[in-house]
Assembly symmetry: C2
Homo-oligomer: 326 residues x 2
């Protein structure tokens, strides 16, 4: 693709898990990249240095809720990948107001700022499978009813509607992807509140416990993060991606228990432990999830390149290296 060369690409949450993976991919396309980050933690800053390898990436520090920061940051952007936010469905129950201020007010601030600037860059918003809530074992397409079980999922849903409305009223073009469970490089091991596969891999490498709540029979769809960012990069320049909501997942599910056992076997250490459900986690639990990815596959002509075992193998090698256990 040549769509990114010389373009001003803005990434909020640019030092996060998705952000760093996207920066790496977009640097290969000669994009002019500017990221916004709330914090400058040493691990992701170090990763950014490695990735950019002398090439320029502009780094701004600030909060998406701050109108002054956001106005300065957004000015002149061609495409905005909007990854900033607070993660964690369980955590969102503990501090619902804080989740609201970041995951609702922050996005509204971005859209209101663009409206006032009268600038209309393409915005890619990463939503979550958690907007669906409890789905059972049927394959879930984008028309499935939306009944999130967590404040986090609800706020993702509200933010989706904000993007829809700002397109309807002001023509700000957006693409929403509802992401399933991504895994892969650039997840800071210091952060614990998301990324079950990465967390399992790190625990296994450290010969720790991989804790499964309940019986671990719930199906989940796991996607290697390079495949996810590849889809985002395509979605952001696809003419048929405007005013669209697409599921983004691998398109096949396995149980959490199978995943944990697979990781222990591939890593060669770690122990799978079944524990009782903590009550907060149980309340937001959505059970099985099977992702119907047929729309993004056909409309974006995209499909994942990494089969589960390939993706896990790469991820394990990366974190072994990081943790000094090769």
């Amino acid at each position: 693709m040549d769509c990114y060369s010389g373009k001003n690409i803005l990434i909020t949450g640019g030092l996060g898990f998705l952000g760093l993976n996207l920066v790496r991919a977009l640097l290969e396309q000669n994009a002019k990249i500017k990221i916004l980050t709330h914090t400058l933690d040493p691990q992701p800053v170090g990763w950014l240095e490695e990735i950019r390898n002398g090439r320029q990436v502009e780094v701004c520090q600030g909060d998406i809720q701050n109108p002054v920061v956001i106005q300065e940051f957004l000015n002149g952007g061609d495409i905005v990948f909007n990854f900033a936010g607070r993660s964690g469905a369980t955590k969102s129950l503990v501090d619902a107001s804080q989740d609201m201020q970041t995951n609702i007010a922050g996005h509204l601030n971005i859209l209101e700022t663009l409206r006032k600037l009268q600038q209309y860059p393409r915005i890619i918003f990463v939503s979550s499978r958690l907007v669906y809530g409890v789905t059972g074992t049927q394959s879930v397409n984008e028309s499935f009813p939306l009944n999130p079980t967590s404040i986090y999922g609800l706020h993702k849903l509200t933010a989706e509607h904000y993007y829809r409305l700002y397109f309807l009223h002001y023509g700000i073009p957006f693409t929403v992807v509802r992401l399933t469970n991504p895994y892969g490089p650039f997840q800071d091991p210091c952060r614990k509140d998301f990324g079950i596969v990465n967390r399992f891999i790190i625990s296994a490498i450290q010969n720790g416990n991989l804790e499964i709540y309940g019986d671990g029979s719930q199906l989940r769809d796991y996607i290697y993060v390079e495949d996810a960012t590849d889809a985002l990069i395509r979605a952001a320049v696809a003419t048929n991606g405007v005013n669209q909501i697409w599921n983004l997942g691998y398109g096949d599910s396995i149980t959490l228990e199978e995943m944990a056992n697979k990781i222990v076997k591939m890593v060669g250490s770690g122990n799978v432990r079944k524990v009782l459900w903590p009550s907060k986690a149980q309340k937001v639990e959505t059970g099985d999830f099977r992702c119907d990815t047929s729309r993004i596959r056909s409309e974006l002509n995209w499909r994942p390149k990494f089969q589960l075992d390939d993706g896990l193998f790469r991820t394990i090698e990366i974190y072994k290296n990081l943790l000094g256990k090769p």
Copy 2:
């Protein structure tokens, strides 16, 4: 009904249009009423004095976003009628952030406060037909897809989900009603941003223009406010009303043009004027709305007592009297 005698009934937005109608009805049931109001405008304060007629109604002034105010206000309540909020779909586009702070953050503050107090009064939340968005001419039941066209409608939808989640996680019992267009006494003529029928009636009495945007062919469902408050009073004590969302309307629709002509004829003055759509109003316009009220009718054993002509006649008499034009 004897369900209200001696009960602590809290009403947020208690000096508003719905609030005052509810206070009047509940005083007849010997409820202990405490209201919260953001402002103490002379007209509604005067109405409250008339209504209470020596009986006690406790009045607190404050904002639902203020945790200290809300904690003090909610403590010890048996039933909370939660009417506080910012009205106006068009206005919500002009100041989306302000709408968010009141209509989202305010409700979350109420629910978070109850969670922390560990008090679980029944909450009645008045949502809006505007959560549905554009529906066409088909009759809309509670399972209709939810795609609001305004920030106001979206925030009502988000608040509905808050109530659902706080029941799911903490057992705070709620009933949501999605109200169509109410009309009747106790709407302050100084406020212009809601209540199309009341606005038309007041304009007609003043021999002014009743402005219709476009051709006025859109169907709407109009309910006399006494019928609406009667339904709310029943819903709040119905055991089958917990964790329920009900449409609340008259159950029949007429066009806006028919309504305007009817009012001019009944009042005997005023002029119907068709004007071009203002662009903001056109963007949030939802077109026809036909309300399927079968669920609330059968599950609550409720039906409206006031036919349209009765309700309009009463309303016209009341505002003629108020405006000194008998």
